[in-house]
């Protein structure tokens, strides 16, 4: 594992951010502490200077001068670092402060001044000057060396503590990044295996619930779904092959038989030959109908545009469809009823495609209903949308199969003997998806003997801009 790779990991970057935050926090803490301490120290110095100046100002001139001279050896030196006595013209009289500092005014207020002694480095003093008896000025000063010491100490301890902390954080970051990188590498390898075609491979998701494992879990669920879809596609392929193979095998057998008979010298009559060819064409037509329906489904599923869409009246379409299918129902002795709604039932859709939906649903209902049964078509406005129902009294669809019948080629075992491409309902569901309409299957339960199937379609409200754009 390359070090540069390690440094690029999100974990390591996070560590760097944490380290920066730590340093920042420490610096902030230090500067806040320093400014607090400084304020406190100033206030204390100023109070001390005032108190001392107050005491000294009550002495008479001689005593004061004496005290200032003595002060150099006094204990007071610890508190008042420097003192001096000057005359009104700021000339030195006594004390260890020998030069009147620049900018000092004898007004009884503490000032912060930098003094520049000739032989030493400049230093900062809190300094107070007050006029006293005998036309003199008393100057008292306190240095800030305590504060400087404190600052030095704090800075030192800060450095001592921050360096190992930062190093420790960086080490932790490297270790954690290494672990994260190792887990990602394992996932990469798993993904590579999947991409090479091993669809059963899954990412290691572990038992924990951290974010990586949750992500791995999500990816695994996605892979499950994809694998399922792939299986479905494979199944569809197999189904197509099977459904095409059956009629094609029949064609081949018929033609083969016709040819074989002739080879035996037993020539078929023109009529027999014609009937063999006719049946072969029927079987080929069935193959064509399957292929046409498949292409149609593909075309509808790929249709992103809704060019042919307009507001159409379901009631009108239904009346036409019933007119078209009535003779078929009649021939099977099935009653085909239209329950007309009280007014128009407008939906937003493609007229030709909606006709196809209704035709397929009615066709399907008639196919799976026994003679003597009935098929009912009804529709109502539902809010701004519409609901359409096709009910029959046929064999019905058991709940477990209700989703499956919408899949391509699904044929319930009960319906194996019924002719058809097996694609009618897939076509219906593809068209309804394009219309954002939902299809539900339940049972009619009109007659006790047969459950019957009830196909309910709910159309969404038509968009309000329709009439303007149409």
């Amino acid at each position: 594992m390359l070090l540069s790779e390690l440094f690029r990991t999100a974990t390591f970057r996070l560590t760097l951010a944490v380290v920066a935050a730590m340093i920042g926090t420490a610096a902030l803490q230090f500067s806040l502490g320093y400014s607090q301490t400084k304020t406190f120290e100033f206030r204390r110095s100023d109070a001390l200077l005032h108190r001392e100046a107050d005491l000294l100002s009550h002495e008479n001139a001689q005593d004061l001068e004496h005290k200032i001279r003595e002060r150099a050896t006094d204990d007071l030196r610890v508190v008042i670092n420097e003192a001096g006595l000057f005359d009104m013209a700021h000339r030195y009289v006594a004390g260890d402060l020998r030069v009147w500092p620049d900018g000092l005014i004898a007004d009884g207020r503490v000032r912060e001044l930098t003094v520049w002694p000739t032989e030493d480095a400049p230093y900062v003093l809190r300094i107070l000057a007050i006029p006293v008896e005998g036309g003199r000025i008393l100057v008292l000063a306190r240095g800030l060396h305590m504060l400087d010491e404190w600052r030095l100490m704090m800075r030192h301890s800060l450095l001592v503590s921050i360096v190992p902390t930062v190093l420790f954080a960086l080490m932790t970051g490297i270790v954690l990044s290494h672990r994260a990188l190792a887990r990602v590498t394992v996932m990469h390898e798993a993904i590579d295996r999947i991409m090479e075609g091993d669809l059963h491979e899954r990412l290691p998701s572990g038992r924990g619930r951290d974010e990586m494992q949750r992500l791995a879990g999500s990816v695994n669920r996605m892979l499950d779904r994809l694998e399922h879809l792939m299986d479905e596609i494979r199944d569809v392929g197999n189904d197509i092959a099977h459904d095409l193979r059956t009629p094609l095998a029949r064609v081949r057998a018929r033609l083969d038989r016709a040819l074989g008979d002739r080879a035996l010298g037993d020539a078929l009559s023109a009529d027999d030959l014609r009937s063999v060819v006719g049946r072969a064409i029927d079987d080929l037509d069935q193959c064509f109908s399957i292929i046409t329906a498949l292409l149609r489904i593909g075309e509808i599923e790929n249709a992103r545009r809704r060019v042919g869409f307009a507001v159409v009246d379901l009631n009108e379409i239904a009346a036409d469809i019933v007119d078209l299918y009535e003779p078929i129902a009649e021939a099977k002795q099935i009653r085909l009823d239209l329950l007309p709604s009280t007014g128009p039932v407008p939906v937003y859709g493609d007229r030709d495609l909606l006709i196809e939906v209704l035709a397929n649903l009615i066709d399907n209902a008639i196919k799976f209903t026994d003679p003597g049964g009935e098929v009912t078509l009804g529709m109502v406005r539902q809010g701004d949308g519409a609901r359409l129902e096709v009910a029959d009294t046929g064999i019905g669809i058991i709940p477990e199969e209700r989703q499956a019948v919408l899949n391509r080629f699904y044929r319930s075992d009960k319906s194996r003997h019924v002719p058809g491409s097996g694609l009618g309902l897939s076509l219906v569901s593809a068209i309804l998806r394009l219309h954002n309409a939902s299809l539900t299957i339940s049972e009619t339960r009109k007659q006790d003997a047969r459950p019957g199937a009830l196909f309910g379609v709910v159309f969404p409200p038509s968009p309000p801009t329709v009439s303007a754009s149409a």
Binding site: G278, D282, S289, V307, L324, D350, P419, G420, S421
Partner: protein, 261 residues
């Protein structure tokens, strides 16, 4: 089960009709003695399909002239002299629809059948808008193509006359009654509509898709033999028991209303 039965019944009818090779010879529009065989201009870039179509149409008695590109089709098309044109929608250099529009702009009124690999509704509509007279989606059966060409070449009998007559049948378009040899036949409105369509196109092969599209205005391929059932019901009403059927089934193609000789 009864679906099967219906198929069987229609099959027997078809078998009867199949014995006579009906509708094999295109009668064509009256070409004024110039040529007895109708002339077709086929503009199609796919060589394989073009060859197949040309051979099939030649065998059916058409004379086919083939153009492989749009500009070629245009230059041949404007010379006129064709009874019908087949134009593929997608052509190199010059799109099929533009070709038709250009021809129409130059006063070429020859009927055009548009061929397309696309069947979306808007494609059909735009094809017809551009001046095409009919629209056929690939893949198609040759019988379908031939029947539609036939239909394009013959104008349906849309006369102002209020009586249509084919053989023993007479249809009064105002009274909306139908008689056979003077005996009135009771027809449902949908049966009347279907018979009217047939009577306006006597002796002409009409495919199931043509009937669905033109009589019912539907553009889908039904799972059941819808058209056969409707024709069957109509036959039972207009045919004499034991007599030859007026509506004949054309094997693998469709139906034809033919007056008995």
């Amino acid at each position: 089960m009864s679906v099967r039965t219906m198929n069987a019944s229609s099959r027997s009818d078809q078998d009867i009709a199949g014995k006579e090779p009906g509708g094999r010879e295109p009668s064509g529009r009256d070409t004024g003695g110039k040529a007895s065989r109708p002339r077709v201009l086929l503009v199609e870039d796919d060589g394989k399909i073009a060859q197949e179509v040309a051979e099939e149409l030649e065998s059916r008695g058409f004379r086919v002239r083939h153009a492989a590109t749009g500009p070629e089709g245009l230059s041949i098309g404007v010379t006129g002299g064709f009874d019908v044109m087949i134009v593929d929608r997608m052509l190199p250099e010059l799109d099929g629809l533009t070709l038709i529009e250009t021809l129409r702009g130059r006063q070429v009124a020859t009927p055009v059948l548009v061929l397309s690999a696309l069947s979306a509704v808007d494609d059909r509509v735009s094809g017809l808008k551009a001046g095409g007279d009919d629209y056929l989606t690939k893949p198609f059966a040759m019988e379908e193509l031939a029947a539609r060409l036939e239909a394009l070449m013959r104008r349906p009998n849309n006369t102002r006359e209020t009586m249509l007559r084919v053989g023993p049948l007479a249809m009064d378009l105002i009274e909306r009654t139908v008689t056979r040899d003077g005996t009135e036949i009771d027809l449902l409105p949908r049966e009347f509509r279907l018979l009217e369509y047939l009577m306006r196109r006597p002796n002409q092969v009409l495919t199931r898709n043509m009937l669905l599209e033109d009589v019912w205005n539907y553009r889908f391929i039904p799972q059941t033999n819808l058209v056969d059932v409707h024709i069957g019901k109509l036959r039972r009403k207009i045919d004499e028991a034991g007599g030859p059927p007026l509506i004949q089934s054309i094997r693998g193609t469709g139906f034809m209303l033919r007056a008995p000789e």
